[in-house]
Symmetry: D4
Subunit: 161 residues, 8 copies
């Protein structure tokens, strides 16, 4: 980097901007994400299911993750992909899976890069704003994964009231 | 989705949470990102360089992009990767490239998935908060890409004051 | 590079060819691509849809891109893939999606690398020549994405007359 | 699946084997992995570093993960890759990075699929047996990531005595 | 690596942990895996099928592999993916393929990264514990691949009694 | 490489083996592959279809390739994947596509890595031995691609008699 | 696709635009590309080198390809990547390789997605306009690959005068 | 597939060709490949190294594979990549690694897709013809992997005389 560039950068503070027009967003904290992940594992373990639970932030990036002692290798990516799908689309993956079956024209939604349209992903919202999502994989059916995800969210809801 | 699940979801509003603990973040708007992209192309075109300019949000996801009429195919991914690298590490990629050369122990930073440690990526900040980054590729040297990026940020700075 | 090679290169001008037989093609300019991207976002925003709009050139390489403030992460790749699919096949992706449903033998067209056979991609043509394509993702249905794409093309059409 | 197959499967219990010759292995539990991940984030946060901490099992598969509130997107894969590298090679990635610099013949060890040879990955051992690894990414130097990893392991060591 | 780090590492023995809480697992040995691979090729060859046979460990990582003289290139990855799918899900891939057809909501299980839901993968178990899996590809039908896998497991079962 | 190794290598001639047991195979020559590729383009051009034609060797590795002046970008990978699929499975991809539709249990054959189960790939055989395959993509239907492939093979057949 | 959409599409002719502002480009024809590929193989064969020769169009998309009878599997992708690199950057890859060695700040140009910065790729130009590139791989040194590429271009030059 | 196509295919026997011009090649058998893999594991185990051994055919496709009981997950791909590199380039990877260090212009040979330029891969030859390669990974140095590979080849050599 030559001296002009260094000078320019230091003047800009790496490009500082005034801000009124930029977006104000709420994003899930690690603290809350950890609770959801732990409660998700707990809910599924209580029913005898070995699962992975992934919690992603509003952009779909992993924030917290747990894989129970007996959950298979594939559950890591399955849980993460369900969470990404749900955070980015802002609806539960189970609802998307139903749409895909009903509307033939929507079938290839399943091919969008990074998507896994299988029940078990649920968005995490504050009011109308999606701040992240939880994805669970490993139970013997996606609807069972989803039930654990909803229980986990319910636990956190009480705590935060 | 069975009825219990639908009921549970509607109670939760897909998992609505109370919020005090979650993160308040500022993120770059499309409006500002578009201006930076256009100014970046303009700055490089004025010097005779054919470039791509990518602007990503704070999570590194593409927000706006322009490729000038004569910029090669590879500049699309190069610009996007420089912007991702800079948004996620919060320093200019040119500064990272210098570190990689000086510190042998840091050499493999270049292998982090998604990274391109080549000058031309600059974070976009409001005060200390990184709200996105711009990445430029296609000029005959990374330092020249970076100069265009800094000019583009400077243009937007004046406008927003 | 040894001296012979350098000499050979300078004689050839890096391999200059006489030209009568080569192809004369029309390709979309950045200027037009930017207008289409902006009009696409505008058309969908007016209907309350948060979308990404990608405009690719005749070879399917990204030329311009915009993601609206609330469009999810997955819309980046979805929009880009729809535009690639449409530029390369030269038909709207919605029409391809219908064919895939009707002709079982064509089902695996959806597996062609880079393809996303979901409505929302529309070729940009001058007469019979495809010079690029626009792809939109993020509306609650591919047909809605496609409608925005057509509105955007219509806006540009008037302007260019 | 025809009837013969079903019968054969039920006879075999999906292929039950007698066992004396198979391997007895120790693998990290979710409980311990979670503690290490939390202590890793805590150790780095105390020094002002925003990091991701990944804990993988003995096969290199993710077991637990945490990303602190301000850690960038790239730290997810960086932490995970460091942990994989260390679990599979059974040495700290910082030690590998030194070897790569000293021995030119070993340079391409950095290209082994899945490897990230950058300090911050440390194997988790019981006696001589590697039962997993921790990987940290996001501090301003790999040696600083490694220091947090060692602190985290030290915390867990006391607890388990 | 500075001296403090080296000292810390040597104190920890790269992070040695006390162990009562960690998992005790049984994993398939190379010896057994080789027998299963050889018997799988033999069983299919006897019927005139040219196949690949992959045996993976409990985490789904390849342990032993054989491709018969006339088996095509694609059978390498097909056999490996079937084995991974079966080791991680702990059921035969043929059974999974039936479920996918019967339960529309489960259809996208086929999109889980690394999965190939086609008959021919069978878990290898000791009692209830899955210690690996065998996957076969190349016979003119997945059910035929599966039959060879079951024969191979049956051969090994006798031997080990 | 130390001296012992160099000596060992020179003794072995990099590992020379006596040979009676190894396989004698016939593989397609570049000369024949080029003719098939050219005839494939010619056959489709005569019907007004813009296509890519890929010819692979018996292992599925590309030997010759042509893309006509107006064939889209996606036809490169489509043609190559059809040829790979056909060379490795040793049947026409059109026949595979029919099987996939008829046998639900075979549906996921389409997910085998590298496969594209869409008509247009045809094996090239000498007697019963598959020595390569041709794949064509770009015509308005896979059956039309396949017809061009068969015409091309027919042309070469006469020539070689 | 509903009726409104079909109507809109037919009005637009899939989005027909007036054209004065769009780009007029020259692109390499299949005919010329084939000659260059054949001459490249011939030039290298005459010197005893077994090579692959890839010719790409101005966007870097494969137009013609030949692999000589004894050229290894890796030469397919090596030749194609050299041609892409040269078409997109518009300079010979040998010249880029020299720059990368001389300018430490440019080192990571080698990590740009799709790039292979190894001699053997040469742009094909008409005057100043790059209309494609040739890439050769398989000779015992990149400079030897490049020499064959230059010979091939020289052959075509005479023919076209 | 319509009737004309089926008729055409049956006439051609899926495209049967007369053969005088096609290539006669020798390829490694599964039988020999298995012996080399077993001897490779044995040689390294005798020295206390836990390794994977991959044997590929002349096209670089996996033929036989063994991973010893304690070899890490990364050794699977490392061994396979070394074998591919050596089969396709027809020289030992250790020799390639030395060239890469000596000739700066050859440095990026390491970036050729599929290559791993680290000692431990050795071609398997009959006279001058490469019929496959062995690759070993997991010993504490590539030169040690290579020594095991050479021992394995030496064992097979005696046996085949």
């Amino acid at each position: 980097m030559n001296k002009f560039v260094i000078a320019a950068i230091s003047l800009l503070g790496f490009g500082t901007l005034a801000s009124a027009n930029e977006l104000k967003e709420t994003n899930i904290s690690l603290e809350t994400a950890k609770e959801i992940a732990s409660e998700g594992v707990k809910a599924c373990t209580a029913k005898g299911y070995n699962v992975s639970v992934a919690v992603v932030d509003r952009a779909g990036i992993l924030r917290a993750f747990e894989r129970s002692d007996l959950a298979g290798s594939h559950t890591v990516d399955a849980a993460r992909a369900k969470a990404f799908t749900s955070a980015s689309s802002r609806v539960p993956t189970g609802m998307m899976a139903e749409n895909v079956q009903k509307k033939p024209g929507a079938a290839q939604m399943v091919s969008i890069p990074g998507f896994l349209v299988l029940a078990g992903g649920v968005p995490i919202k504050i009011g109308d704003e999606t701040i992240g999502a939880v994805g669970i994989g490993g139970a013997p059916g996606g609807n069972l994964d989803e039930a654990c995800a909803l229980e986990a969210l319910d636990k956190v809801k009480e705590k935060l009231k």
